[in-house]
Symmetry: C2
Subunit: 266 residues, 2 copies
């Protein structure tokens, strides 16, 4: 078990020369429902954790609570499944109404062999179009992805700026699976205030050679880092990242989506 870190430990006589990034979980976010003031909940959680926002901080917020705050939830009792949804549901052993919601949220089915992998209306390729029944009260309610996660992130960043006076970047994240590799990782589905891709093309390595194909998906790496502290079952859906240096910019997370024409795996 890793020891809890001690901020005042003498083993950390870090002179400031060593680049350091810190990740703080902001626990104690209450159950979120439509219309709840999410920004206030996050500011209150930070205050309880004795953390004051600083310009340059990055807040990674789990999609689930953004969706709930925006009312992007669906009651399955209100859904009448189509024949297509019923057929898919039979094959996948799923609730036909839940499958119908996935179809409603999708522009295209990518695979339906063992799991339903679709392309959402935003263009994200993921299981079940991001429709999820975990961490939702009640047995017949599912959450959708936010309608426009980049716009949600922009609104949240503006609200944090207004209420704290600090320029805080926002990433809205969800856990997606990957081909070829097992397990989910947290990725960025919405972003505001920071670059989502870091283009190193044209820069040179330490031997002076051009780095030819290097574009780093830093918003996804930031989301993944935050994922380490977002324990799904324990209600800590917000993580603050401090010390990561970036040039403030509005760049949507949808920029990360690989254009279909260039994608060899759709």
């Amino acid at each position: 078990m890793a020891k809890p870190s001690n901020l005042r430990s003498s083993s950390f006589a870090n002179s400031g020369a060593t680049p350091e990034v810190r990740l703080f979980s902001l626990p104690g976010i209450p159950e979120i429902h439509a219309g709840r003031d999410l920004v206030k909940c996050v500011i209150d959680a930070a205050r309880r954790a004795a953390i004051r926002f600083e310009s340059g901080d990055i807040l990674v917020i789990a999609q689930k609570i953004v969706s709930k705050a925006e009312g992007a939830v669906v009651r399955l009792t209100a859904i009448k499944p189509s024949p297509k949804a019923r057929s898919l549901a039979g094959r996948l052993k799923k609730d036909p109404r839940a499958v119908q919601v996935v179809l409603n949220e999708s522009r295209r089915i990518v695979r339906s062999d063992h799991v339903l992998i679709t392309e959402t209306h935003h263009g994200f390729v993921c299981a079940n179009a991001g429709v999820d029944h975990s961490n939702v009260p009640g047995n017949d309610v599912v959450t959708l992805l936010p309608r426009n996660p980049d716009r949600s992130a922009k609104k949240l960043a503006a609200a944090f700026r207004r209420r704290t006076g600090k320029r805080v970047a926002v990433i809205i994240s969800d856990t997606f699976g990957r081909p070829w590799r097992l397990g989910l990782t947290n990725v960025a589905i919405g972003a505001a205030g920071l670059p989502v891709l870091l283009d190193l093309r044209g820069s040179r390595d330490r031997h002076g050679k051009l780095l030819s194909a290097t574009i780093l998906a830093i918003a996804d790496e930031l989301a993944a880092a935050a994922g380490l502290l977002m324990e799904k079952s324990k209600g800590s859906p917000v993580v603050l990242i401090r010390g990561y240096r970036y040039k403030p910019r509005f760049e949507p997370a949808t920029r990360i989506i690989r254009p279909a024409a260039e994608d060899l795996f759709r």
Copy 2:
């Protein structure tokens, strides 16, 4: 621009109740060549950064320097390309000798449309089988992935234990592309001393509902977090992660590879 963090800032009166993870870059790793004592280089870099290892720390080490220390490099002048390599190279506008090295490192070509995506002998699916010419001195030398990155990680972890007295987990990382999403992210290709997948199946969310499909690829999230501080061109290929809680375990990073039979995208 994010402000540099100040360890003694009063805005960090963190009581210890807030889970916190810290990432330190260990700069000043010298150019690594075959037979160089990598563990000593890392210990020296940590000492210069005034960081003392603690049990539970996780070292993420870029594949490149492990490969160099192990002599997993190839001089292209020694390579005679096959007709297949020449044909692929013509189509992809690449050096036929470099393509031959990629074929040598691969058990199967997955795609060769715009880029050469192969399955390595380890089972990793990535561009160019991980063969890379950046951050290598000389124009005709390429690095390979380590022969057995899990074994390399295990050896390194044992050496850190021996020399520091601390139980330090090791992840060997490389930057891989993904279908559907642009940009590279840092992932784990070797691991020792920590779980690579965190299986939350059977655990319950805050509403008591079973989390059905949740396995988190935590070694990849740790590698991605470290990737934020591994600036490719600036020679900081080692990142220390502190404060992430895990149960020590030997679990190979190859466990992350999705079995071909279950993979819908090969």
